[in-house]
C-alpha cells in the first residue's frame, strides 16, 4: 500500500491505496466522488475524464499513486454552489446530453478544449472531443453546446451564470 495526498474538488484527501488502483476507482470507491464514471476498460470512451492539475486526463489511465500531490477537478467540483460553469449552462441550453452518462467526461473534456482554444471551429470541436464517446446525441448538440459555451465565456463570466 502507498500513502497519497490528493486535492479533489478543493478538498484534500489522504489515505493508503493499492499501487495498482486506478485514479477513477480511487475517486469512486475510496473517497465517494461517484460523479465521475467508468464506461470502458480500454481508455476509449472518456466518460471518466477529469482535470489533473488543470488538464484533462482519462482517470482510468492514471494510477491513484500518480495523482499524489496533485489537484483533481471532477464534474462535481466544476461549479461552486448555485453558479453553473458556462459549459454546464451550455449543455443544458443546447440539449447536449440525453442519458447523461458520458456527460461528466464530455463536459470536462470540453472545459479543457476551451481553455486551450477559446474560439474553436466546428471541426476543431469535433476533433477535440474525439476521445469522448456519446451514444445518445449523435454529437450534434454536444458540438452546439461547446460552441455556445465558447460564446458565453468570451462574453465574460457573468453571462455564464445561471
Amino acid at each position: 500500500m502507498a500513502h497519497i495526498t490528493v486535492t479533489v474538488d478543493g478538498t484534500s484527501y489522504n489515505g493508503e491505496v493499492e499501487p495498482r488502483k486506478l485514479l477513477v476507482h480511487w475517486l469512486r470507491e475510496d473517497i465517494g466522488r461517484v460523479g465521475t464514471v467508468v464506461g470502458c476498460d480500454t481508455s476509449n470512451c472518456g466518460a471518466c475524464t477529469v482535470l489533473l492539475n488543470g488538464r484533462s486526463v482519462k482517470s482510468c489511465s492514471v494510477l491513484a499513486v500518480q495523482a499524489d500531490g496533485c489537484e483533481v477537478t471532477t464534474i462535481q467540483g466544476l461549479s461552486d454552489g448555485n453558479e453553473w460553469h458556462p459549459v454546464q449552462t451550455a449543455f443544458k441550453e443546447c440539449h447536449g446530453l440525453q442519458c447523461g452518462y458520458c456527460t461528466p467526461g464530455m463536459v470536462m473534456a470540453a472545459v479543457d478544449l476551451l481553455s486551450e482554444n477559446p474560439t474553436p471551429s466546428e471541426r476543431e470541436i469535433r476533433e477535440g472531443l474525439e476521445g469522448n464517446l456519446c451514444r445518445c446525441t449523435g454529437y450534434h448538440n454536444i458540438v452546439k453546446s461547446v460552441s455556445y459555451a465558447a460564446d458565453l465565456m468570451s462574453a465574460g463570466p457573468t453571462k455564464g451564470a445561471k
Partner: protein, 790 residues
Amino acid sequence: MTAALDTGTALGKPIRRKEDAHLLHGQTNWTDNIQLPGTVHMAILRSPMAHAKITKLDVSGALKQTGVVAAYGAKELGDLNGGVPCVWPVTDDIKMPAFPALAIDKVRQVGDCVAVVLATSAAAAVDALDSIEVSYEQLPAVTDMEAALKSGSALVHDEIETNACYVYKMPCGDYAASRAKADVVLARRFINQRLIPTFMEPRSVVAAPMGMSDEITIWSSTQIPHVLRVLLALVTGIPENNIRVVAPDVGGGFGGKLQMYREEILVTNLAKKLGRPVKWTETRSENMVATHHGRDQIQDIEIAATKDGKILGLKVTLLANMGAYLQIITPGIPLLGMFMYPAIYKMDSYDFTCTGVFTNKTPTDAYRGAGRPEATYVIERIIDELAAEIGMEPMELRKKNWITHDEFPFTTVAGLTYDTGNYEAATEKALAMFDYDGLRAEQARRRASGDPVQLGIGISTYTEMCGLAPSRTLGALKYVAGGWEHCTVRALPTGKIEVVTGTSPHGQGHETAWSQIASSILGVPVEDIEVIHSDTGRAPYGMDTYGSRSLAVGGQAIKAASERLVEKARVIAAHQLECSASDLEFINGTFQVKGDPSKSQALGAVAFEAFTAHNLPAGVEPTLQAEATIDPADFSFPHGTHLAAMEVDTETGQVKLRKYVCVDDVGMQVNPMIVEGQVHGGVAQGIAQALFEGAEYDDDGNLLTASLADYLIPSAADLPSFDTGTTVTPSTTHPLGTKGVGEAGTIASTPAIINGIVDALRHLGVTDVAMPASPQTVWRTIQAAKGGAK
C-alpha cells in the same frame, strides 16, 4: 384532436430538461454508485470458448482467497441456478432450450457464465477467479447460419436435434401470381450485420434483502423495472409482492437493457441466499460478449414489378441469428420487422418466411428499431436496385408506388392499417432542404469529368410501426404480455402534482415531457410537477420503455389520468362554490363559474379541500388522485424522408458523408427539442451501422470486436451535423396525435447511406456494398466491379 394540445401553454415548447441539473453536476445515482454496508461483489468466470464441454470445474480454490465469501458453479448453486425465460414463443413448435444462469456441463458462447465468486471487494472477487480450476473439451463451433441448418452440422443444443429454432411464415396475397405477371423480377441478398448496442453505462445490479423482512430490493440498470419484477418473481420463486425493483439513473439502453439477464437472476438469488447485499457491475469487455446483440440477419428479397415501375409483389426470406440461447424476446425481433417490409408501398402480394437459427454466438434481441431497421434497409435498398434495373429515377419510383396522403387510412398488404401520413409533404420539404436537383447536377458533372471523388445521393423514404403495442395484437403474435401503460396523477395538499408513470426513461427526458403534458391539462406550472418513475415501490404499474412506446402509449395514460383528475376536482369545486359542476369552466388551473369569474377555486385549493375533507360533497372520497391504464388502439406510424450526399473516393474507397437531411413526421410534438435530439442520436446509430460497426467473429466463435478499441462506435470527428426538419401529420389513433420518435432515425438512416454509396459507384458496375462500408470494403467492391483484385 389537436384541440387538447392547444389548451396547454407548455405543450409543443422546447422546454429545457428538468433532468439535466443533476446529470451536469455529477449528482447522479447510477446503480454502480450504490454502496451498501456489508455488500459482497460478484465476479463471473466466463467461457473463453464458443462451444465446449466443461470437463472439470472446481471452485474450492477460490474460497481460500482473501476476502472471498462464497463461490459457486452450477452444481453448487443447485436450485438457485434459475434460467432466463423466453416470453415470445413465436410458433407452436418453437424450440426453446434451457438457458440456465450458470452453464451446466456445456458452454455455448464465448462469455457464457461458468462460475461466480463473491468477495468483500470487486477486485478480490476478480482476483479469485484465477483460483477456480476449470477445463474444457472444445467442440466445433456453429458460426455460420446456412451451415448450421445443414444436416451433419454440430448442434448448439444437442437435445433439440436441430439448430433451427423456428420457421415463421406470413403469406399475404398470391405472390406467385404477382411474379407471373411481372416484367421484372429482381432478387438480391443483403446482410444485416450483427451489432452491439453499446449503451454508455455498463450494466450493474445490486440486490439487498431488507433487514428481517422478506422484502428484497433490486437496483438494476434496466429499461424494464416492472417487467423485470414479474420475471424475477417467476424465476426465483420470491413472491412478487416482496420484490421491489428500482431503475435509478440509467445510462442509455437502445434495447440492450430491455432484458432480464442471467446476472440479474444470480445477484438476486445470491443476495437472498447470503442475506446481504450483492453487487455486480460489468466491465465493457464483459458487456461486449454478455449483453445481447442486435440485427444479424441474412435477407433474401425478391421484388416483382412491371417494366414501368409498378410494384406487384415482394418475397422476403430471412435467416435470423438467435445466438446461443433465447433471451426474453429473441425470436420475436424479426417479426417486428415482418410487417414493415412492404413499408410505404402499395402492392398486391407479400410473402414472408423467417427461420430462426441457433449459433454459438451471443444471443440477439432488441436493438434500437428491433426488426424494423432490418426491414427498412432491405426494402429501401431493393427499391433503388429496381429503379436502376428499369432505368427510372429512384425518387420517381417511390412516388409511383407510395400510398398518397388522400389514401389514408390505408391497410397494407401486410395487414396493418396506417392511420395517417403524408409522404409527399415530407419528401418535398426534404428535397428542398437538400437541394436535390443541385446535387444531382453536381453528380452528373463529376461523372462526366471522371472525378476520382464521385458523388452519390442516398434516399430513404421510411415508415415504421411503433408504440408497442395493442395488447390484443401482441397476444395474436404469441407475446406473453400486454402493451398497455399506466399513469396515476395526484394533486397534493400543497398544490404540487405527482405524475406517476409506468414508463422508465434512460435519456429520453420523460420527467420534462410528461410534466408538459400534465401541465397543459392541469394548468399547473411544469416546475410544480414531479414525475415519479422506474421504481416498482413508488410507481407500481407499468410496462416500461422500449419500442418508441413511452409517449405513444404512456402519454395517452398521462392525458387520460390528468383529465379524470380535473373531473374529480370539478365535483369538489362545484360543492365549494355552490354551483353545479356543469356551470364550471376549468381555465389555466382554476375552476370558475361561467359568467362570474370572481367565483373561482384553483386546483391546489381543491386538493387542499380533498385533503382536509372537512366539507366534501356526499359520496366523494378524500384525497385527489386519478389513474388511467390505457391500451393503445393501434400502433403508430411515423414516417419521413432522409437524404444523404455521399462522396466516395474511387481510388481509396474512403467515404465521406457530406450532407445529411432528414424530415420526419412524428405527429404532434410535446417537446420539439427532445424530438430533434432523438432524431440526431437515432440517425447517428443508423449511420454507424452503415459505415462503422459490426460484431465480427472468427470461425471458432471468438468475438473479435470485444472491446471499444475493436468495435468502432463513431466519435464526434466521424460524423457531421444533421439538417433536421419535420412535418406534422397527427396520428388519429392516439388522443394526443403523437407517434413515436425514439427509433425513427436509426430505422431510416442506414439505407440512405448505403444507397448513396452505391449511387456514387453505380456507373462503375457496383450494385451493392456490404456493411459496414469501411474504406477497405468499398475499395474491394470497386475493384471487384472493375473485374480487378478481390
